[in-house]
């Protein structure tokens, strides 16, 4: 029985994380009403992460293709090429100086559209167009030839896969068949497996001679994702209530916790399911659904000065007490 309850909690938490990860952008733009704590439950996942019309217009375009890169015998007389491959330019001169105008134009458009998906909302800490950083080389590749056109609608996924190749030194892999080939979907690249929606579901790259770190992927995360993950770990480890207080205590600002005494006991023991309900900007709302109790909701609110407020956001009258930490 305990196991069943545990499983329910965990399943309840998985869907919300996923949802949060993919939907935050939408939330930021569509809902600024931080006071509406009543949760909207939704089971439908995101169908597309980018505006389909934009994707279509992007895929209708074609730019100057990169000339093939001969890894074994690189010819560093770059003047012999129409558009030297990014890998060749980086290999020969550790910088990218030759970029056709049409590639440059598509590059700028892609950059603007793709990067918010990876969590940037301010000035982009993004390398210069001359940089051999994988974030840049992959994007340049996306903007060249038919690299974008032949992709599935998941342009961000294609960008990420190209970036993985560069981050893990793909040109040196034992077998990199298909990778960085703009005529192939990323699902057709060696070691990659996709589902019917063309989403990558498996990367099997044992003993492939990968170099590098996974640390370098962290820039792709949404702002705040790490913090939320820490919170979720706390919830799973110590129960919701103590996790909230822990979250509060981690912040040097004053923090208020409102807990309904009638539901305190509910919150003190692991809730049966945990629904992540809504995020708008810096407001995170969590709801719990106890086994045999009405729903109870907790709101963590971060104001402009960095203050976090965690409160019971139950959709019905609360008669709660207030515990305040200075």
């Amino acid at each position: 029985m305990a196991l069943a309850i545990c499983l329910m909690i965990l399943i309840g938490i998985l869907i919300p994380i996923l949802w949060f990860t993919l939907e935050q952008k939408d939330d930021d733009t569509t809902n600024n009403d931080s006071s509406s704590s009543a949760p909207k439950e939704t089971d439908s996942g995101p169908s597309s992460r980018l505006d389909p019309e934009w994707v279509q217009s992007m895929q209708a375009r074609e730019a100057t293709p990169f000339d093939p890169y001969n890894k074994e015998n690189p010819d560093c007389s770059l003047g012999n090429y129409v558009q030297p491959h990014v890998h060749l330019q980086c290999k020969c001169q550790e910088t990218i100086t030759i970029v056709a105008d049409d590639i440059r134009e598509l590059y700028q458009e892609l950059k603007v559209e793709l990067l918010p998906l990876f969590g940037y909302d301010g000035p982009l800490p993004f390398p210069d167009i001359t940089s051999c950083d994988p974030r840049n080389t992959a994007l340049l590749w996306m903007a060249s030839g038919t690299a974008t056109r032949s992709a599935s609608p998941l342009l961000d996924q294609r960008y990420l896969m190209a970036m993985l190749f560069d981050m893990w030194e793909g040109t040196g892999w034992d077998d990199n068949n298909g990778w960085y080939n703009d005529a192939l979907e990323e699902c057709q690249w060696l070691h990659v497996q996709c589902n019917e929606k063309k989403e990558v579901i498996s990367l099997a790259m044992d003993a492939t001679n990968l170099y590098g770190t996974v640390r370098s992927m962290s820039f792709m995360m949404r702002h705040g994702a790490a913090k939320i993950l820490k919170l979720l770990v706390e919830i799973l480890s110590h129960g919701l209530c103590s996790a909230m207080i822990w979250f509060c205590n981690r912040n040097s600002h004053p923090c208020t916790v409102h807990i309904d005494p009638h539901r305190n006991s509910v919150l003190d023991r692991p809730a049966r399911t945990l629904h992540y309900t809504k995020s708008f900007g810096k407001h995170y709302t969590y709801g719990t659904h106890a086994v045999d109790q009405p729903r109870a909701f907790i709101v963590i609110r971060q104001s402009n000065d960095g203050t976090h407020t965690i409160r019971d956001g139950s959709p019905y009258q609360s008669t709660g007490t207030t515990a305040q930490r200075k």
């Binding site: 545990c6 990876f118 893990w168 044992d206 170099y211 993950l229 820490k230 770990v233 480890s237």
Partner: protein
């Protein structure tokens, strides 16, 4: 890796990957197999690993992970195969491993562990491969392990 949240398998065994495992790995909540063995990862294993509750196989063996084994790993109630051998970890086997109810294989050899073998391991009724050699574990082998009737010592 936000856009790879559909990932069910990530097999990167026997490469030369290094650095620490980022906590954001916890976003890949659909992972059923995570195989990172035989690389050069360092630093403690992030506690966010406990969020990957769909995991059936977790292989981190033969790396240079240090610190304690995160107790949150005990949240992986679907985990059947856990490989944590030959790490630079220390401390004891978390009692929270009692939450690994589906465990069939547990390899922890030569991972610098001490303390007692938690009786909670007996919760894993299907445990049939348990390798703890080359550690500094003390005390008796818990009788609860006897409940795991398939266990070949």
């Amino acid at each position: 890796m936000a856009v790879l949240t559909n990932l069910r398998g990530l097999r990167l065994k026997e490469n030369k990957l290094t650095g620490e495992l980022i906590s954001e790995l916890g976003l890949l909540t659909n992972l059923e197999e995570l195989t990172l063995g035989f690389n050069e990862f360092i630093k403690p294993i992030p506690s966010e690993i406990g969020l990957l509750t769909e995991l059936v196989t977790l292989n981190l063996e033969q790396n240079r992970f240090s610190g304690n084994i995160p107790t949150q790993m005990g949240l992986l109630s679907n985990l059947e195969n856990l490989y944590l051998s030959k790490l630079l970890t220390r401390g004891s086997i978390p009692t929270q491993f009692g939450g690994l109810m589906a465990l069939q294989t547990l390899q922890l050899f030569e991972s610098g562990l001490d303390g007692k073998i938690p009786t909670e391991l007996g919760n894993a009724m299907d445990l049939n491969r348990l390798d703890l050699k080359g550690n500094k574990l003390s005390g008796p082998l818990p009788s609860e392990l006897g409940l795991a009737t398939d266990l070949c010592k």
